[in-house]
């Protein structure tokens, strides 16, 4: 059992808010990260009556960030209806950003350093920063420091046409040059993840999320933005048959099973979660949906170590389970982030694989299988889309509500893989 410091308390998840997620260059093409995060905070403020309130801390981040956004979260707070005296800071842990932000807020609450806080994340691939090439940057710096007109002209004369092509942001790993999808395809092939099971998982994600929208599950989790009232990636009529028609976009030859349908698209969006101590929530008459029990991060050596880029959560979960005296089957709901359908399937396959669990995880027995009926029951990233830093907040709020609806004492596991071979996992309990 966990050795809990008696002086700590578990942070409560009060609720959340997000804007509908939008496929890149669609509804939010003109919106900045700051616009989206501010609107998301304001929706949260309206839901919980936090106008003019100074919460302990607002923690959020973005994966793709303009240089001018060095203080993104604080700027969003200043533009929101929260009290201007609310402190804020940015975090960035690739796709783990949102969940990591929630863990950071929860930990400060647990230690009694703050009574309430907001964790969030935002990303846009439509309004992404463009960088100038290193050569051009050097010229521009010397131009800026030139004192005389002559020096300035000399500096300008060094500009070559080739330098004017900007560095486009790429969804690629700096150390391998491979796109994340290419990495995932390698793992899919290694674990022999079939096309059909990926399409099944994708179709179920869409169907689950559409059903959740239809029954009003998202009524108090989502606030419309710029004319969008639902995630515009969502295909309620998605089916295995339809998905089967798509051509693979990652991987090569027979092993190429990953399509635009079973991989998440580039997405714009933002999310936020309100966490607090039980006392703060009670004093405000606000509900406690669930508590954040514990969390764990892990990283894998995908560069030289022979492990898949997105496999870190596979390593983080057993550590978390051991610390909390739980087995993988002791959960009522599982939220495994659907970066790619194949990632979810490889993750589950690895936990159920005796050899892998023994050799890589050092376990006597495999963690075992999980009941698929408990997996991503209200849909996940394949349906909603995946604005990198916003996914964690989406999952935390949705799972907390799911647990609350199921009644007290229910337990949920969150598993999120991230670029750089990292993973963030957490346990929530109602």
């Amino acid at each position: 059992m966990a050795t809990q410091n008696p002086a700590t308390r578990k942070a409560a998840i009060v609720g959340g808010n997000r804007i509908p997620f939008a496929r890149s260059n669609s509804a939010y093409a003109q919106a900045s990260n700051q616009d989206m995060l501010t609107a998301t905070l304001d929706g949260l403020v309206a839901r919980f009556g936090l106008q003019g309130e100074s919460v302990g801390e607002v923690v959020a981040g973005a994966v793709l960030k303009h240089a001018r956004d060095y203080n993104l979260t604080r700027e969003a707070v200043l533009g929101s209806k929260l009290a201007p005296t609310t402190p804020a800071y940015d975090v960035q842990q690739a796709c783990g950003t949102g969940l990591e932000a929630a863990v950071l807020v929860a930990n400060k609450i647990a230690l009694g350093q703050i009574e309430a806080g907001i964790a969030g994340g935002v990303d846009t691939t439509s309004d992404a920063p463009l960088a100038v090439s290193d050569d051009l940057r050097r010229v521009l710096i010397s131009l800026n420091s030139a004192k005389t007109m002559g020096d300035r002209l000399k500096a300008l004369a060094r500009i070559r046409p080739g330098q004017l092509v900007p560095d486009m942001p790429r969804n690629a790993e700096p150390r391998t040059g491979l796109a994340m999808g290419d990495h995932a395809a390698i793992t899919a092939e290694e674990w022999q993840i079939g096309r059909e099971e990926q399409d099944e998982l994708a179709a179920r994600s869409h169907q689950n999320m559409a059903a959740a929208y239809d029954r009003g599950f998202f009524d108090d989790l989502v606030t419309p933005f710029l004319g969008l009232t639902r995630d515009n990636n969502l295909r309620p009529d998605s089916s295995v048959e339809k998905l089967a028609k798509l051509k693979p976009v990652f991987g090569t030859g027979d092993g190429a099973t990953m399509t635009a349908g079973n991989s998440t698209p580039l997405t714009d969006g933002a999310s936020a979660v309100l966490l607090a101590s039980d006392e703060w929530a009670a004093a405000k008459g606000l509900p406690v949906l669930a508590h954040l029990v514990d969390a764990q991060t892990a990283a894998v050596d995908y560069v030289h170590g022979g492990e898949g880029l997105l496999m870190a959560p596979v390593y983080a979960v057993p550590v978390l389970l051991a610390r909390n005296g739980l087995s993988l089957q002791d959960f009522d709901f599982y939220e495994i982030h659907e970066a790619f359908a194949s990632t979810v399937l490889a993750t589950m396959k690895a936990w159920d694989d005796p050899a892998f669990c023994k050799e890589k995880l050092g376990l006597d027995a495999p963690l075992g299988a999980i009941d698929r009926a408990k997996l991503n029951v209200h849909g996940s990233s394949l349906a909603a889309g995946h604005p990198f830093a916003a996914t964690g907040g989406r999952i935390v709020a949705s799972l907390a509500k799911t647990l609350h609806e199921a009644g007290p004492g229910k337990r949920g596991l969150i598993s999120i893989c991230a670029a750089g071979g990292q993973g963030v996992v957490a346990i929530l309990e109602s």
Binding site: V45, A46, G49
Partner: protein, 451 residues
């Protein structure tokens, strides 16, 4: 905030043109502003009949800081200051002969009424008259007041309050309402009071302080105005609207320091979700305003089932179901709650192309009347407000001609503003309005429709 014609008619050129052409000359109405006096001038109180209310009226007015003058004589009488209001106590009429006194008192006084002045007549209800002659005299008051309302100009209004025996204690709040700028667009109406335990010690500036008020359809239009006025009067507003209107709803909630609840009131579990929200988050509601409403116009012969059913579901069935659920759940509705249901002039007068809408809105009137005795038992009230032509985004989309005519065919010669409906609803929601129950108050500037 006035409409274009009212602004035009009050401009330099506009005044000349409208006067020469004999066009309507609507004025900008006196509307309530926090901190302003109840009335911009003194009140004269007179009586016709035995009059049992003069002292009570005088006390209420003096408490509100209003100067009360003695009756004006036919030859001009007393000092020359223009009057803010004229109040006639016509209780105790025995027969038509007593009404001459009403004429004697009102004629010279109304001559001295200033712009946006008020004429208010207090009378016994005709229904419990002791004789045909007495019933005739009491009923005569209706015709008198409605006609005065049509004769008054410059934004002045005339209304009547029926005060049954025993309901005298209910008078203060309605009296203040009809004299104040809150009733700017309420004209030619008859309100009947009932006996009730009326709490005292209300804060005039914040009559809804500490109250939790639910407002449906609060994302825009009249609902947003209701939310604003309720918050101004001190209430915490739970602003409800469909999830698709959530961004506007959040903006309204954030502006007024309220909370947003995205909920389609026609969803099967909507009553239960609202009840849970109110009990968990707020310990129950003090005020519920059923404002959300939709139109799906078509002539009856061309109307499909969908148009009929959605209008009925939003405008009537949801009000019934939610109210019932609130009544059925301990703690969801405070014992002395105030429920206000938005009806419509169409529900009173009918309207071509609106069979579904008019039926739903007439249904609302029947609903509040039927529920009123039950509400009274617990110290609560339920009333309806029937707006006339109110200038909103909805009416802005009407064809110019229809809109212009719609907004002029009333005694104030202009459309009302959402805030006018909101002020009336906020007044009905006050603790002091305990003696107004089961009523339908029209906010229509004495519209010609359904009058």
């Amino acid at each position: 905030m006035a409409d274009w014609y009212t602004s035009f008619a009050n401009s330099g050129v506009g005044t000349t043109i409208t006067e020469q052409l004999g066009l309507p000359r609507p004025v900008e109405l006196r509307r309530y502003e926090p901190g302003e006096p109840l009335l911009p001038g003194p009140v004269v109180v007179g009586s016709a009949g035995a009059g049992r209310l003069r002292d009570a009226v005088t006390t209420v007015l003096r408490d509100a800081g209003v100067t009360v003058q003695s009756p004006v004589t036919a030859d001009g009488g007393t000092d020359g200051e223009k009057l803010g209001a004229v109040v006639l106590d016509a209780t105790g009429l025995t027969g038509p002969g007593d009404l001459a006194a009403a004429h004697d008192f009102l004629a010279p006084a109304i001559k001295r009424l200033r712009a946006s002045g008020r004429v208010l007549v207090l009378a016994d209800p005709p229904s419990d008259a002791g004789s045909p002659a007495q019933a005739a005299a009491r009923q005569a008051v209706d015709g008198l007041v409605r006609s005065i309302a049509k004769e008054l100009r410059a934004g002045s209004t005339a209304n009547a309050i029926h005060v049954p025996e025993g309901a005298e204690g209910s008078l203060a709040s309605p009296l203040r309402f009809f004299l104040s700028g809150r009733s700017a667009y309420v004209d030619g109406q008859l309100l009947t009071l009932s006996a009730a335990d009326v709490p005292t010690g209300e804060d005039d500036a914040k009559p809804l302080a500490g109250k939790v008020a639910v407002v449906t359809g609060a994302a825009r239009g009249i609902g947003a105005a209701i939310a604003e006025v309720m918050a101004r009067d001190g209430a915490h507003v739970v602003a409800v609207d469909i999830p698709a209107a959530g961004d506007k709803l959040a903006r309204v909630a954030n502006e007024i320091g309220g909370t947003a609840l995205q909920l389609d009131i026609t969803a099967e579990d909507a009553p239960q979700r609202l009840v849970e929200h109110l009990t968990e988050r707020h310990g129950g509601a003090d005020v519920v305003v059923h404002n959300a409403g939709i139109t799906r116009d078509k002539l009856l012969v061309n109307m499909d089932a969908a148009r009929w059913n959605t209008v009925m579901a939003v405008n009537l069935q949801a009000q019934l179901d939610i109210t019932q659920a609130l009544l059925d759940t301990d703690g969801a509705l405070k014992p002395d709650a105030r429920v206000v249901c938005v009806s419509s002039q169409s529900g009173i007068a009918g309207n071509r192309g609106q069979t579904n809408y008019a039926a739903s809105k007439a249904g609302v009137i029947g609903m509040v009347r039927a529920w009123a005795p039950h509400f009274a038992e617990r110290g609560a009230t339920i009333n309806a407000v029937a707006p006339g032509f109110i200038i909103t985004e909805m009416t802005a989309k009407m064809p110019f001609g229809t809109r212009e005519i719609g907004s002029r065919i009333n005694s104030l010669q202009q459309g009302g503003l959402p805030v006018d409906v909101a002020e009336t609803i906020a007044w009905l929601s006050q603790p002091g309005s305990a003696g107004v129950n089961g009523q339908t108050v029209r906010v229509c500037g004495q519209s010609l429709l359904g009058a």
